[in-house]
Symmetry: C2
Subunit: 219 residues, 2 copies
């Protein structure tokens, strides 16, 4: 069915790029139709209008980040389901997940990501799709991992801590332009990302690692 080359499909792809680059208001249907190599009238025909295309775009991309994060999400889910309570394992899973999120948001600046950012900042009708299909689960998983790591059982507390943690990672996406300007970068290099990952990882270790008087803590 999805020949990947149907007009329908090309419009969605063009929409992703155009909305990501210019926002809903900034992207015109003419622009999108041209990018898709089809006629302007195809948008109302297939999607009922510009807004319909916008929603279709989000239905599509809502599945994208999960795909990349899926292996790790599955691992975490399995861990939590098994009701293991080993903090070290949980910490490892958490660091790995955040590391992937960093990669996803910074070194692969896919248009999807900017689109998602925009919608979070300025929710419209597409926000529900995004929240329910992408955000909710991830926040919950991180929150539960934190609970295992720290032993904190107040859900609200671990949720807020999850947001703090996510904020550390997302800063390098939201603040991308500021950071580039401040560090005189054109874009993140692999080295930059590695350095950031290392700093965040170290940070998490110090902040979350269960108090251990043990001297085996690696430096």
């Amino acid at each position: 069915m999805d020949d990947k080359e149907t007009t329908n499909e090309r419009l969605i792809q063009a929409g992703i790029e155009a909305f990501a680059a210019n926002g809903f208001n900034g992207a015109s249907t003419r622009m999108i139709a041209e990018k898709a190599g089809c006629n302007l009238a195809a948008i109302p025909y297939y999607f009922g209008g510009k807004e319909g295309l916008y929603l279709a775009v989000f239905e599509r991309i809502a599945e994208f980040p999960n795909e990349l994060l899926n292996p790790q999400i599955e691992a975490i889910r399995a861990f939590l389901k098994a009701n293991e309570r080993d903090p070290e394992t949980a910490l490892g899973l958490l660091k790995q997940l955040l590391s992937t999120m960093l990669e996803l948001n910074c070194s692969h600046p896919a248009p999807h990501v900017q689109l998602i950012t925009r919608e979070q900042l300025n929710p419209s009708s597409a926000f529900d799709i995004l929240y329910n299909k992408v955000i909710k689960r991830e926040v919950n998983l991180i929150s539960r991992l934190i609970a295992v790591i720290t032993g904190e059982d107040n859900r609200r507390t671990t949720t807020l801590q999850a947001f703090i943690l996510i904020g550390q990672v997302m800063m390098f996406h939201h603040g991308r332009k500021v950071i580039f300007r401040h560090l005189d970068l054109q874009d993140y290099s692999a080295t930059d990302i590695g350095e950031i990952r290392q700093l965040i990882t170290a940070w998490i270790d110090k902040a979350l690692k269960p108090k251990q008087t043990d001297s085996q803590i690696r430096t």
Copy 2:
């Protein structure tokens, strides 16, 4: 000169609100003129056009956050200038600064803040004003405080750590809508903010506090 009630002034105020709520494309000159209680033609007259008004708006607001943060920024500057190198004092200053930033961005969701966020995410001609007058100094101060606290003397490292730290705070602004949805809030209450501040503060303590294997060590 600034009667606070000149047409010029009312347009800037109306512009702040309109651009903050709807973005540059989304805010129409009609809307702004109406909000300002003046004529549409006044915008080209005073500012040369919509874009000129947008720049004027940023010239104005670029001074706002500094005013609120000024006492603390001055204190930090004095501390750094005196070349004191006491980590505990630096840590206190840092926590206080971030606490104010949290307050500024979350419990006072002034339109200025959303405007600044938008421009950072999607830089236009006004980005320079913003970066030079607001962002640059703050990042540098935080970075230097971190250097004093941790003893790290690689400027690049402390800068990245500064961004991590800022990210923790800004998450509660950028992710506001997501967080409200996830925690079933209408807005942050004073209690919420207090709780967040406490968590961030504790986090900073653990992550930055000079290595001490014994919690009894205190200066």
